[in-house]
Structures are given as structure tokens and as C-alpha cells.
């Protein structure tokens, strides 16, 4: 995401908020999928986030990119959800014995290893990784989205990548990457 390509929005405008929803819904959903590890839950949190954003829309300040502002709200919602989820986990663990964590085929995501590894990270670290390495946010934009100083963002990114590397193992050699060029990023 770059500022030069950011569309212009007017705070409080219903039409602009609808456009913002259309433009950013999928991207915010992907961020929350990485944080929460589940499409259905992520969609639920995204909708909650848009409800909160809609209420605050008249007070939105155009100095901050609208999508980063939305991301901030959405990540807070996701963090709250994960907190509540942890409280429920103890009881749910007993009910889940012998079953897979997700039994809805619609919620299955390819690359479960990476998603699972991201989900083991603190939510703000997982979000920082996705914002940087999937959405292409700058450190400043991530700082806006996370509500943290840029220096903190850099530290969180470094810590997150270190944990991911330890968790997932070493990436394939560079030669393999050159043979399979990057595709699918939304930058």
C-alpha cells in the first residue's frame, strides 16, 4: 500500500464508506485470517470492525490512510477475540478431544503450517508480518495500523520473523526461489 495510490475519502460520507468497504474488505480479511487462523472467525471480526469503523467514520482524520485506520480497528477486534478465545480454550479442549480443530471444510486454508505458525505469534506481530510482507505496508503505515511507534514496529517484525524461522525451519535455497518467482502478493 502506498500513499500515492490511496483513494480519497470524506469522513462521514456514506458513499465513501461503502467504497472503502468494497476496496479494503478482502485485504483486511486476509490480515485477520493470518492473525486468527480461521476464515469464518476472521470474517466475523472483520464485520465487527467495520461496524465500529462505521460509527467512528465521521471522526476519521484523513491524515492517516483509511485502510491503515481500518486495520487498526480490525486488529484490535482480533486481539480481543483471541483473548476471549484463550479463556474458552480450557473448556473447549475437553470437547475437542479426538477431533480436528476445524471441522468445517469451508474454513480450510491452504498452507496451514504458515497460518498455524502465524497464529502462535502474538497478534500484533502476526499482523505486522502480514501488513509488511503481504500488503506491502511501510513501517509508518504499520505503526498507524498497530497504534505503536515505528521503532516498536521494527522490533516486532524482527522478533516475529525470528520466531517464524525457528518454527517453520529454514526456507528453501535461493536458487529454488529464483526458479519459482514470487506470485500472488497484492503489492
Amino acid at each position: 500500500m502506498t500513499d500515492t495510490t490511496s483513494p480519497l475519502y470524506t469522513p462521514g460520507s456514506q458513499e465513501d464508506f461503502n467504497r472503502l468497504y468494497r476496496d479494503s474488505h478482502a485485504r483486511i480479511l486476509r490480515t485477520l485470517v493470518a492473525v486468527l487462523g480461521d476464515v469464518g472467525t476472521a470474517e466475523d471480526c472483520v464485520q465487527d470492525a467495520f461496524v465500529k469503523a462505521y460509527k467512528a467514520w465521521p471522526r476519521w482524520k484523513p491524515e492517516a490512510p483509511a485502510e491503515a485506520w481500518l486495520h487498526r480497528i480490525a486488529i484490535r477486534v482480533a486481539i480481543s477475540h483471541r483473548r476471549r478465545e484463550k479463556l474458552r480454550e480450557a473448556g473447549a479442549l475437553i470437547l475437542r478431544l479426538g477431533r480436528s480443530p476445524s471441522e468445517d471444510p469451508a474454513d480450510e486454508i491452504a498452507g496451514q503450517d504458515l497460518i498455524a505458525a502465524l497464529r502462535r505469534l502474538p497478534p500484533d506481530q502476526a499482523a505486522a508480518v502480514v501488513l509488511r510482507h503481504h500488503h506491502g505496508y511501510s513501517n509508518r503505515e504499520i505503526a498507524t495500523a498497530l497504534g505503536a511507534p515505528e521503532s516498536t514496529v521494527a522490533a516486532r517484525l524482527a522478533a516475529a520473523k525470528r520466531k517464524l524461522r525457528d518454527d517453520l525451519g529454514a526456507p528453501p535455497p535461493l536458487a529454488d526461489l529464483d526458479a519459482n518467482p514470487i506470485s500472488g502478493t497484492s503489492r
Binding site: 478482502a26 493470518a34 476464515v39 464485520q47 498452507g111 503481504h134 506470485s183 500472488g184 502478493t185 497484492s186
Partner: protein, 218 residues
Amino acid sequence: MTDNFDRWLEDELGTVLGSVDPGYVAPRYLETRAPRGARKLLRVFSGVPALLATKAAMASAVVVAATGAGAAVTVAATSNSSSTLHWGQMVEQQVEKCKAALGADQHGIGECVSAFAKTHGQQQSTGSPSPDSTGDATGDAHGKGDTNGKGNGDDNSGGNAGGASQNGNGNGNGNGNPHPTPKPHPTPQGNANGVGGGTGGGNGNGNGGSGGNGNGKP
């Protein structure tokens, strides 16, 4: 090494998250909040019942202060009827008429309004007041009524009177003492802001408006 990992990470995220295609999902925010204009309209109308209740209570308070115990019973009975608002408007109109009828150097519209209220009270007297409206009060009652019908009066005769209530469920506390002389308030004015609950009774047995309840005895 870091660049290598970063490229791998971007590639993996693109593959994994790129497969998440939500399509169009109907936004939930449209269901949860009315447009701003509509909300303002709702806010305006939400104050109407309270406003009407206040006006009715004010009108009732004016009449109670002006007309003495008999009128208080009338108001109590009338307040419990469905025509409370209508009665309040009638009283307001009567007050305006009485004011207009006064000469430039004349003061006081108590008698004028009292006559009107008594006439109306006689018409209503065949109906019985609610069971809660048989309170006692003594003396010159400057009760403070509010729209909830709770009132307390006090004066040198020690009377407390319940204020007029829109629904007849007010609270009043009567602490009568054997003061022999009642001091009914002479005019209906000056207590328009929800003040003026009950009226003085001659021997410690007055009417506390609707909901007045006491135990004063001479």
C-alpha cells in the same frame, strides 16, 4: 539469509492468503445503525413524552395550589383519566384567559382559575379518586411535585403533601400536627415549575394530590 527468508515469506503469504477469496459479503454495519438524520429525528421525538408529562404536571400543580382541597381531589381524579393532557391544556388556556381579563393595575388570577377548576371539579366529582389519593396534609402546602408524582411539602404547620401525579402513583408523607389554622395558598402562580403538590387542610386532613399519603391528625 534475511532477504531469502523475506522473499519466501512473501511468496507463501501470497499463496496462502491469496486463496482466501471472500467474494462479496453484505456489510453488517448497514444493519446496525440508522442514518444520522433519522437518529436525530428519533432523538427529537424521544423527548416528547417527557415534555408532555411535564406540561401536564405543571398544569395540575397550578390548579392544585389555587383551588384548595376540593380541587385537589378533582385534579387527582382527572389526572388518572385519559384526558390528563386535555385537562392540562384547558387549564393553561384558562390561565391565559384570566391573565388577559385582568386590568393593568390588577393582580392575581387565583379566583378566576379557581372558579373554572371548581366547575370542572363538580362535573368530575361523581367519579371516585384512586385509592392512593386519600392522603392527609395540613397547613400551607408548598409541596414540590415532579413528574413522578413524588412530593414533599413543608411549612410551619408541618404538613407534607404529595404532588399531583400523571398516573396517580405519587408518594406523599403526611406529618400532621394539631395546628388549627389552615393556610391555603392564595394564588396558583409561582409554583409552575413542578412545585405545588398538595393543599392545606383545615384540621390537618387535607388532600395530598394524587398519591398523597400521610397520617396527620389534629
